[in-house]
């Protein structure tokens, strides 16, 4: 057992809560977009399959939203309980985006309630579709504002600190800090992307189980096309984030790439393990690539980690998380292209999709979620030892209260129970009521597929 240190336990507990929350938050941001696209296609093409798809997704979505809401409430309250000194200082500098986040969430909550309970209420189907737009605006805007808070922690600005008092706050300067554009864009785009792959994985599971209905093929095609668009945009924004890091947080990029000496023509380190004395083994070194990633120029000079004092360096393990994130992101693009290629050919020949391809799609859902977690750990651990980079160290922001260890235990239990329940319920909901049954029940088609 570790000796009791509230700062360590606070970090673990915050990490646990956020790590659990972002699974549901990602779904909460991305899935409404997918639902709206499916509903749009259903009305536009007068195709009841897409409408049913939208409805079924929406039904499962409510369950995940519930967990997203309660864990979001947890993290909101926990920030104050676990990081009181930090909130005393940062809370007022970033109160505006925090506030706007709540407004966006409020807006989403109202319209989600309306959307879910008005499927058959309006004569014109477009009226119902239009309600999905404020839901999307609300969920994406709340992701945008809450990511601004995180961006502020990475590149704080717009205030002065004298002792423990903070003065001369400029709310807008604090909000639109250098990290804001790339961070928010990357978070939103990767949430759309991950949701597309999670839904694609569900369709692929059904197809793998031998279900032949055209409903599943439409679901798969729609999600894979969206997955391709969103993963390309995520990769593009990721590249911009690399350039942002090189300029504003060079120590994070250097730690992620195990780049110790400041050099030009810097190589990118892929994979590998770090031995004692920081020697890199078994890694693939791509020449010039880091210079390109950092500055868009193969001859550019990239600042190394040695320029940062030892006690202010981020942990070197973030390299692994960075690599996993980038690898998964790249593989999903390849997978989507392969799918579209094969789908086009097999459709011409009337053959089903090969099962190896479907199996890859099944994996893409959980892997995309893993990439979200890895990217987030990379971004958060990469700004250690700071909680407010350049202003406040993490250990100084934590609570001094006793019993954080017991709270960690309490919340671990809670998340285990919640995670297990969600899994069971979603499984039961969709197994006991198949799309085929629903199509028949709604009189869309007869007994034959």
């Amino acid at each position: 057992m570790m000796s009791y240190d509230p700062a360590v336990y606070s970090r673990i507990l915050t990490g646990l809560t956020l790590g659990f929350h972002i699974i549901f938050a990602t779904i909460g941001v991305g899935v409404p977009v997918m639902i709206a696209i499916a509903e749009f296609l259903g009305i536009k093409r007068k195709d009841p399959h897409y409408t049913l798809l939208a409805r079924r997704w929406a039904r499962g979505f409510v369950i995940t939203v519930a967990v997203g809401v309660v864990t979001g409430t947890s993290i909101g309250l926990q920030l104050n309980l676990l990081w009181p000194s930090f909130m005393q200082i940062a809370g007022q500098a970033i109160a505006l985006p925090l506030f706007l986040e709540t407004f966006a969430f409020f807006f989403e909550a109202i319209f989600l309630g309306i959307y879910l309970y008005t499927w058959d209420r309006f004569r014109n189907p477009w009226t119902h579709f239009i309600i999905s737009i404020p839901v999307i605006i609300g969920s994406s805007a709340s992701a945008f504002f809450i990511t601004i808070v995180n961006a502020f922690m990475n590149t704080p600005q717009g205030f002065k600190l004298s002792g423990r008092t903070i003065i001369d706050i400029d709310p807008l300067v604090a909000m639109f800090n250098p990290a804001t554009p790339t961070k928010t864009a990357h978070v939103i785009s990767s949430a759309y992307m991950t949701s597309a792959f999670v839904l694609a994985a569900i369709a692929a599971v059904a197809l793998l189980a031998g279900k032949r209905h055209v409903y599943y093929q439409k679901a798969l095609k729609l999600t894979m096309v969206c997955g391709l668009i969103f993963s390309i945009s995520t990769a593009f924004i990721g590249d911009l984030s690399g350039k942002f890091l090189a300029e504003y947080q060079p120590e994070k990029l250097a730690a992620a790439e195990w780049h110790f000496e400041t050099t030009d023509k810097a190589p990118l380190v892929v994979g590998g393990i770090l031995g004692e004395n920081n020697e890199i083994r078994y890694a693939l070194k791509l020449p010039y690539a880091l210079s390109v990633l950092a500055h868009g120029n193969p001859n550019a000079v990239v600042q190394g980690l040695n320029e940062t004092p030892k006690e202010l360096r981020p942990p070197l393990y973030i390299h692994y998380f960075f690599d996993i994130m980038v690898t998964i992101g790249s593989l999903t693009i390849v997978l989507c292209i392969a799918y579209l290629w094969i789908e086009r050919r097999s459709q011409g020949q009337g053959k089903p999709l090969p099962s190896w391809l479907l199996r890859c799609v099944v994996w893409s859902g959980p892997l995309a979620m893993l990439a979200i977690e890895c990217g987030w750990i990379f971004a958060e651990a990469g700004r250690q030892p700071w909680i407010l980079r350049g202003y406040m160290k993490t250990v100084h922001g934590a609570t001094t209260s006793a019993n954080v260890d017991w709270m960690l235990l309490l919340f671990s239990l809670l998340y285990i129970v919640l995670g297990f329940s969600v899994w069971m319920i979603l499984r039961r909901m969709f197994r006991s009521n198949t799309p085929e049954q629903e199509l028949e029940l709604n009189g869309i088609e007869g007994g034959k597929h």
């Binding site: 007022q92 969430f105 989600l112 309970y117 954080v404 919640l418």
Partner: protein, 339 residues
């Protein structure tokens, strides 16, 4: 009005909003479970579910709003309350989490799961009690500051008559507010069987509500005479509150004008709540934090107020739409719309 007064007023309005919507919600969960135990679930469950399903998510937002605004306007509260409330706060979070998710699980997932309904119904009663601790410690005397270490004096809290009277009040008023609203809602739905059951709940909880209010009133006198004297200065608010209660209880008793009765219940709590809040000023946490010394910088204060107004311009029409579709739509209330 200066910024800090606007700030605390706005926050207090939001806390009041939470008090009403959360009470309806928490009480409804309890009644739902209780009526299942007593074999009357089929009578009231439909009514409760039709009301709650579209609005449960909105309830949570009021609480988050209050908290974020509190830290934004009065950052010192984050330090004092955050440090001292680790355990009660965490317990409240766990209860809120269990309640919120098991509500959704039992409504959208497995309909007749008794364990889910128990988790959802029972946690709802414990939440008001755990949240009311914040109000209790704001009276002062439960927190000790030594050097840079702030601690909550649990032994003092648990042996305090004032603390217990607040817990009792929060519990019974939740049940009373909820029953008063649901009686009205059932009447709108023309579901007279449900109305009778719920009216019974409302009457049963009305007397304990008023008795526990008096209990809180007198235990404040013991605990914090300064605050008690200030409350006496505003005694007209408390007297009006009592009058509202009496008219409301009468209307529920004779089964007439139940909408007005619920409005009076809201007014009863509004008068008592704002009277309590106004007499507590200028202190947020007596005597450590007052609204004057811990206000955030003026530019942020103004930005927050602007955000507030802009947000309200967006929210009020949306809330109105929500109410028109689900609260004041006769067909929906009577269950004539498909899901």
């Amino acid at each position: 009005m200066n910024i800090e007064l606007i700030g605390i007023t706005v926050l207090w309005i939001f806390l009041y909003g939470y008090l009403i919507v959360a009470s309806i919600d928490f009480g409804a969960g309890f009644f739902s479970y209780y009526s299942m135990l007593t074999g009357r679930k089929h009578l009231v469950h439909g009514i409760i579910e039709r009301y709650l399903s579209p609005v449960w998510e909105v309830t949570n937002v009021f609480l988050i709003f209050f908290m974020v605004g509190m830290v934004g306007f009065f950052p010192d509260t984050a330090y004092y309350l955050g440090t001292t409330l680790l355990i009660p706060g965490s317990i409240a979070i766990v209860l809120l989490a269990i309640r919120g998710s098991y509500y959704a699980f039992s409504t959208y997932g497995s309909k007749d799961n008794k364990i889910y309904l128990l988790l959802y119904g029972a946690s709802g009663l414990l939440i008001p009690a755990s949240l009311s601790i914040v109000l209790t410690i704001s009276e002062g005397g439960y927190i000790e500051e030594k050097g840079n270490q702030v601690t909550l004096l649990y032994s003092k809290l648990f042996t305090s008559p004032y603390a217990w009277s607040v817990v009792i009040l929060s519990l019974v008023s939740v049940l009373f507010i909820s029953a008063a609203f649901l009686t009205y809602y059932a009447q709108k739905a023309k579901d007279y069987k449900a109305m009778e059951v719920l009216r019974g709940f409302a009457i049963a909880w009305s007397i304990p509500t008023i008795l526990s209010s008096l209990l809180v009133f007198f235990s404040i006198q013991q605990h914090n005479p300064w605050h008690f004297n200030r409350m006496i200065e505003l005694s007209w608010m408390f007297v009006l509150s009592l009058l509202c209660f009496m008219v409301a209880a009468y209307l529920i008793w004779i089964r007439k004008r139940l909408g007005l009765a619920f409005l009076l219940v809201m007014l009863q709590f509004a008068l008592a709540f704002f009277g309590y809040g106004a007499s507590h000023l200028p202190y947020i946490l007596y005597p450590m934090i007052s609204i004057h010394e811990s206000i955030t910088s003026p530019s942020m204060g103004i930005a927050l107020i602007i955000a507030f107004i802009a947000g309200l311009l967006l929210l009020i029409p949306s809330l109105f739409l929500l109410m028109r579709l689900f609260l004041f739509d006769a067909n929906y209330v009577q269950g004539k719309h498909g899901k």
